[in-house]
């Protein structure tokens, strides 16, 4: 995984996963993740990242695509007890879901690598 520098040069982030529309990086020192998406970088701890995953995964994208109503094509992704929320169009929701799916796959892969290589070797 590629090491990237952040605005604050003291904090080293490691990119977990990225797509054309955004990226997720992990900060080992702060035990958190930085999500760069929809024009802003937001910090998520373990609980908030799982809540974001749940909120995004629970959106019925098919229903949004089939919706005929004249209301705006916008969903508010609100996460309880978190400083962040997203106001996203359907296309952005699809992009965020793709970003999160990739992120959780990479985190799972990292877990397998840690388990099979490092934890056994030490």
């Amino acid at each position: 995984m590629q090491v990237i520098e952040t605005i604050d040069s003291q904090v080293k982030l490691q990119e977990v996963f990225s797509t054309k529309s955004g990226s997720v990086s992990q900060c080992d020192r702060e035990n958190c993740w930085y999500i760069d998406f929809a024009g802003k970088v937001s910090r998520f701890d373990y609980r908030c990242l799982l809540l974001l995953k749940k909120a995004v995964y629970n959106i019925d994208i098919e229903a949004l695509l089939l919706k005929n109503a004249k209301s705006a094509d916008i969903e508010i992704v609100f996460i309880c007890a978190s400083d962040h929320f997203y106001v996203l169009s359907t296309l952005e929701i699809i992009a965020l879901k793709e970003l999160l799916q990739g992120t959780f796959t990479m985190l799972e892969l990292n877990h397998i690598i840690q388990d099979r290589l490092y934890r056994l070797a030490v």
Partner: protein, 176 residues
């Protein structure tokens, strides 16, 4: 890169989700047994009502055990909502047949969690499940024995009264 997910939670998201489903199942069992206790009490089967009240408490205890396990492992337990309960039964026997079905379905669902644990090599959860397997042996035994009373005693004459009298005496004391 640090494995933050693992540091925060011992069980995987899949196991957490399966145990949350089990919490719902146990809560549903507890509520069903309460509905059965209500029916038995209304129809004059006092011993059976007491038996189902006790079963309902046990299921609630199982539910809490699963609930606390997820929390202890660093996961998120979900308190379930239970709807659509059956409150009327066609016969005294139907209640015990439904009770056995319920227990078989609980055993099956715990088995599927164990299968997932084997796949993930989650021996910690597997060890935790062992207690439930032993408990299910007892639960299914009791439910089967209750139905057998209908066959042994028969439902004619004072049969129902006799069956009700024996329901409370069913015990599982196998050392196996």
């Amino acid at each position: 890169m640090k494995d933050i997910m693992r540091a925060k939670c011992l069980i995987s998201a899949e196991i957490e989700s399966l145990i949350n489903q089990q919490i719902r199942k146990e809560a549903q069992s507890s509520a069903i047994y309460l509905a059965m206790a209500s029916w038995c009490d209304r129809n004059g089967f006092d011993n059976s009502a007491a038996y189902f009240f006790k079963q309902s408490d046990e299921e609630r205890h199982h539910q809490l055990k699963f609930f606390k396990y997820i929390l202890d492992m660093g996961g998120t337990s979900v308190s379930p909502d239970i709807t659509g309960l059956k409150i009327e039964y066609n016969s005294f026997r139907e209640i015990f047949e439904d009770a056995l079905d319920q227990e078989i379905s609980v055993t099956q669902s715990i088995k599927s969690i164990a299968a997932r644990c084997h796949k993930e090599q989650d021996y910690v959860t597997l060890e935790f499940l062992n207690w439930f397997f032993k408990e299910q042996r007892e639960e299914e035994y009791k439910a089967r024995r209750a139905i057998e009373l209908f066959e042994i005693i028969g439902e004619q004459g004072t049969g129902h009264w006799e069956i009700d009298k024996h329901i409370g005496k069913i015990q599982y004391d196998s050392e196996a």
